[in-house]
């Protein structure tokens, strides 16, 4: 290697970007060696979280509740399978079937957990196994350990003790979630009454109900903006002080997105939509429980100043709603930025049934967002797996995937969704209960949108499967699953993000359309499409706001998601052709 020296000096100049200092340390070590920027940022973050701690804990508990719902469903399967067998084949067969199902479930868990084994049990035992036997042995080992743990928990008092323990911690979290936060109805109350003298009782600093609500509303957006900019700052701190690489391809993507006006508009709208959904309890003018869900319960009583009687009286939200309906045609109306007869301020007016429209809009965003996200992640996950597997293996698997998805695609998406939601809702299955059909709708969307998604990423998957680095990985014996994950998925992922953001818009429209027709999300869960349907007779009257506001919200949010999708696409691939795969716009 006599000429290595000269080669090195020559090749050096050819490196296009310079920099990149050698660091052997882990992120932890890098932070410890230069703690100041990280400490400042973390302190800021802690402060931001602290003022809203209750809300963050509440979100965590909600997510935990969702996971628990899924886990409970999974845990119930062995018993369910067992009881099915028991009905036909007798008690023993039922017990065996439920045991086998439990073991299968544990085995699936073990497949994922195996990689985290701290030691190799076969090596400890001195066994010399080939690679696949080694894998199966370890999976079996983990399954056995899990089965032992589960049996101990189920058949001994330890399980009950553990349950108590968990319950105790959840209780602590619950009480934490109930603590007052900076942005809350308790800190900035807006529901009071005006006395004869004109002063306000029970509102924030004695402001009018309108001003008090506006203060809270503004605070939410200020808080959200501060959090977002702090997170952005955190990314910059990481990039400047702690990242190993001076530059990664993602930096360019972010720079391009930052200078893409249409995409920025989309990002702002989408973030706004998410904030609206997350902070719905604060943004809503009145607690949804009192105003919408249980307006006649004792908790829904409030004080107001009765001008005729000249004294402070109490009323139920339910009764007040009846007298505050916006039904147009000369009769009753509570329009935008008006008070009703009970001194309740309605920033966006009231609905046709007299409930507060702002409350409906805020919680409706929550409904749309949950449906959109659940459906999106399911559809993306399935489409990704299917496209990678069919591109990698080809042949019969590819053909089966094509036939299967073509069958689904052949039915127009709206008709398919409509049929399925009618069938499942008429069948009154348990899955139709959460969110008054919202979860069911999400699952139907995942099923109906998955084939189109798969189609859009099939091309890129086939393309990346032909790359030489995939062959290279095969040539040194990388497993198919790892090849798909490391060498194919990252290239398909960018398309998924683009199509995914376009898809959410479509899903929001289809949800609204279904609810408009009376099949989507049923009462009392707030939903934008149902608002349009209820207010459509009054559009030409003084109560125009019911349909118009909700319709405008849908239009803006869907446009926002499409704009974000465009922006991300242009940022990821500046040369991309402008064909969005027909997923935007939905029905």
């Amino acid at each position: 290697m006599s000429n290595t020296e000269s080669e090195q000096s020559m090749t050096d100049t050819a490196v296009r970007t310079d920099g990149g200092t050698e660091t052997k340390q882990s992120l932890r070590q890098r932070v410890l060696s230069n703690p100041e920027p990280a400490a400042i940022w973390l302190a800021g973050l802690a402060l931001l979280v602290a003022v809203e701690l209750g809300r963050f804990v509440d979100w965590a508990l909600t997510i935990g509740g969702g996971i628990k719902f899924i886990l409970d469903g999974i845990v119930a399967t062995p018993t369910w399978v067992g009881s099915n067998f028991e009905g036909t084949l007798g008690f023993v067969a039922g017990a065996v079937a439920s045991d086998i199902t439990s073991l299968l479930l544990l085995f699936i868990v073990a497949v994922f957990l195996r990689a985290y084994l701290p030691f190799h049990p076969d090596e400890k035992l001195g066994l010399d196994l080939s690679r696949s036997r080694h894998l199966w042995f370890e999976r079996g080992f983990v399954t056995a350990v899990l089965a032992a743990v589960v049996s101990v928990l189920v058949f001994t008092p330890i399980g009950a003790a553990l349950k108590n323990e968990v319950g105790f911690y959840v209780g602590i979290l619950d009480s934490l979630a109930d603590t007052q936060t900076l942005l809350s109805r308790e800190t900035i109350p807006n529901h009071g009454y005006q006395t004869a003298s004109g002063s306000w009782e029970g509102t924030f600093l004695g402001l009018s109900a309108r001003s008090a609500w506006l203060v809270r509303f503004t605070m939410v957006w200020v808080y959200a903006a501060v959090v977002m900019s702090w997170l952005w700052r955190g990314y910059n701190v990481y990039r400047e002080h702690y990242r190993r690489m001076d530059w990664t391809p993602r930096d360019d993507v972010i720079d391009r997105l930052r200078s893409h006006n249409w995409g920025r508009f989309g990002l702002v709208v989408v973030i706004g939509f998410i904030v609206l959904a997350l902070f719905a309890p604060v943004i809503a003018t009145y607690p949804i429980q009192e105003n919408v869900y249980e307006p006649y319960s004792q908790d829904s009583e409030f004080k107001y100043f009765n001008e005729e009687a000249g004294e402070v009286q109490t009323a139920l939200h339910g009764d007040a709603n009846i007298n505050s309906r916006s039904q147009g045609a000369g009769s009753q109306n509570v329009g935008i930025n008006q008070y009703d007869d009970y001194g309740r301020y309605a920033p966006l007016g009231t609905t046709t049934s007299g409930e507060d429209l702002m409350t409906h809009i805020a919680y409706g965003a929550q409904t749309s967002l949950s449906i959109g996200l659940i459906a999106l992640f399911l559809a993306l996950g399935i489409a990704m797996l299917l496209s990678l597997a069919s591109a990698y293996y080809g042949g019969i698997i590819d053909l089966m995937a094509i036939i299967g998805t073509d069958t689904i695609i052949s039915i127009p998406i709206f008709v398919l969704v409509l049929m399925m939601s009618v069938v499942f809702q008429q069948g009154d299955v348990w899955i139709a209960e959460p969110m008054d059909g919202g979860l069911l709708l999400a699952l139907i969307f995942a099923f109906a949108y998955m084939p189109g998604m798969w189609r859009s990423i099939r091309g890129p998957s086939l393309q990346v499967a032909e790359e030489e680095w995939v062959d290279a990985a095969k040539s040194y014996g990388q497993t198919p699953l790892a090849i798909m994950r490391k060498h194919m998925a990252p290239y398909v992922m960018s398309y998924l993000i683009i199509y995914g953001s376009l898809l959410v818009g479509g899903m929001i429209i289809v949800t609204s359309a279904l609810s408009f027709l009376g099949y989507g999300v049923s009462e009392p869960t707030p939903e934008w499409g149902r608002l349009i349907a209820s207010g459509r007779n009054a559009v030409s009257t003084q109560s125009w706001h019911v349909s118009t506001v909700s319709g405008a919200m849908i239009a803006i949010v869907v446009t926002g998601f499409n704009a974000l999708g465009d922006g991300i696409r242009d940022a990821i691939d500046p040369q991309a052709e402008a064909n969005a795969g027909g997923s935007g716009g939905g029905a």
Binding site: A14, T17, W469, T479
Partner: protein
């Protein structure tokens, strides 16, 4: 490089070779595409029965036109393609039979350097992750050891350790190829398939990479299969060369011998295509007419017979003009094409009615090919007979007559490998048997 240097180097290595044992034995290896599957028809015969040996520590060059199957052969040797038939014995085990764990264990012995450094590295991973991946697959050492080893490897291929955290597209083509080489070295293989490793690089960088590969071979005792179409590179780096045409090895032997004194007509024509730096050189080039046949329909007999400049001709037509022979070859191609083409019912009816079809009439073809030539009487009558058969859409009969009259052993029988020198050089040609003139004599006479 001077001619002297090349020769002496090759001599030394060919001496060395004789003492060494065989590392890879390839016997009657076949790789067909498109044979299986639901609608399998005629397969594409990318590699159609090749047999040769690769000796420990040598560099065997594999040259040929694009599409002749050399890359497929290389990929089949590494089990990136499934062999249709035959065997590949690596250290005594037939690797075409391996699967699962055995294949996984074997794979670390043999690695591949790919042609296009832009496509062979995953741009989403850092250089370190790329070079490390094979180590992770074989659970080699602790993360810390792996990182150290990767940095050593980067040093070996002439990169610097701090390149570990950079991304591939921050590097030039030559550097990317070095990264690829570092990755193949990670598992310390014995055998490497180099699939045109320098053809995508600038000429100045090519030399650096070639030198690097030679240094690595010296240092680690590697065995190379060097696939290339650049003959000067092959002449420089290879101990032996195999010449491939249409899925067959036409000639295989020591580099210097093969380049200075080619035996096979195809090798002759390949070598005569190398531009000579001497402006006064007057030697006629052997120009091959037409394109290689479709590997889905390889010709009968010798694979090269449709274009061979030294094809054996029947003695009674020995004196025919070269242009007439060209015409006859083209006529045969046309007839074969017509024979294979599906005729729709509509076209048959149009033909009956004397209308135009997409098949040009045979008379036109005949005029194009032979109209301006002066054909001896005996040949002309045979050609007329052939054209008559073809005009009646009886291509089978027309081809039978053509082969009968103008054909020879080249079309009828597949040749055998003949040993053409003391070093064991082999050539795949009928002309090495006693009754025919040697290819070189024929070519001297004809060109």
């Amino acid at each position: 490089m001077s001619q002297n240097l090349v020769e002496s180097g090759a001599e030394v290595s060919s001496d060395r070779r004789r003492e060494r044992e065989k590392l890879v034995e390839i016997r009657n290896l076949k790789t067909y595409y498109g044979e299986s599957g639901l609608f399998g028809g005629r397969p594409v015969k990318a590699v159609d029965g090749v047999s040769f040996d690769i000796f420990n520590g040598e560099t065997l060059g594999l040259v040929g036109e694009s599409g002749c199957g050399k890359t497929t052969l290389g990929r089949t040797l590494l089990q990136l393609e499934d062999a249709t038939g035959g065997e590949v014995r690596y250290d005594g085990t037939d690797i075409t039979e391996l699967s699962g764990d055995e294949l996984y264990q074997w794979r670390r012995n043999a690695q591949m350097v790919f042609q296009d450094p832009d496509s062979s590295l995953n741009d989403r991973m850092t250089v370190g992750e790329i070079v490390r991946e094979p180590l992770d697959v074989y659970e080699w050492g602790t993360p810390q050891e792996c990182r150290e080893h990767v940095k050593e490897l980067l040093d070996i291929v002439g990169l610097r350790p701090e390149h570990y955290y950079r991304y591939p597209h921050q590097f030039s083509g030559g550097q990317r190829q070095r990264i690829g080489i570092a990755r193949t070295l990670a598992l310390e293989p014995d055998f490497m398939v180099l699939d045109e490793p320098v053809s995508a690089l600038d000429v100045s960088v090519q030399a650096e990479i070639i030198n690097l590969l030679e240094d690595l071979q010296e240092e680690f005792g590697l065995t190379y299969l060097f696939i290339a179409h650049d003959l000067s590179v092959v002449q420089h780096i290879c101990d032996r060369v195999a010449v491939m045409y249409l899925g067959n090895i036409m000639e295989i032997g020591p580099t210097d011998e093969l380049f200075n004194n080619p035996a096979n007509p195809y090798t002759h024509s390949l070598l005569s295509a190398i531009p000579k730096p001497d402006p006064t050189a007057t030697a006629d080039r052997i120009t091959l007419h037409g394109t290689p046949p479709n590997p889905r329909y390889p010709p009968n007999g010798c694979p090269f017979n449709t274009r061979c400049p030294a094809r054996i001709r029947p003695p009674e037509y020995e004196q025919l003009d070269d242009e007439i022979w060209m015409g006859i070859n083209t006529l045969r191609d046309v007839l074969l094409e017509r024979q294979r083409a599906d005729r729709s019912l509509r076209e048959r009816i149009r033909e009956r009615l004397g209308r135009q079809t997409r098949f040009a009439s045979v008379d036109e073809t005949y005029d194009d090919l032979f109209g301006h030539l002066n054909i001896p009487q005996d040949a002309a009558s045979v050609l007329d007979e052939i054209v008559d058969y073809a005009a009646d859409n009886d291509e089978d009969q027309a081809l039978a007559v053509l082969t009968e009259e103008f054909g020879s052993v080249c079309e009828k029988e597949s040749p055998e490998y003949s040993t053409v020198s003391e070093t064991g050089r082999q050539s795949f040609c009928h002309r090495h048997s006693e009754e025919h003139a040697r290819p070189s004599e024929v070519l001297d006479e004809r060109y």
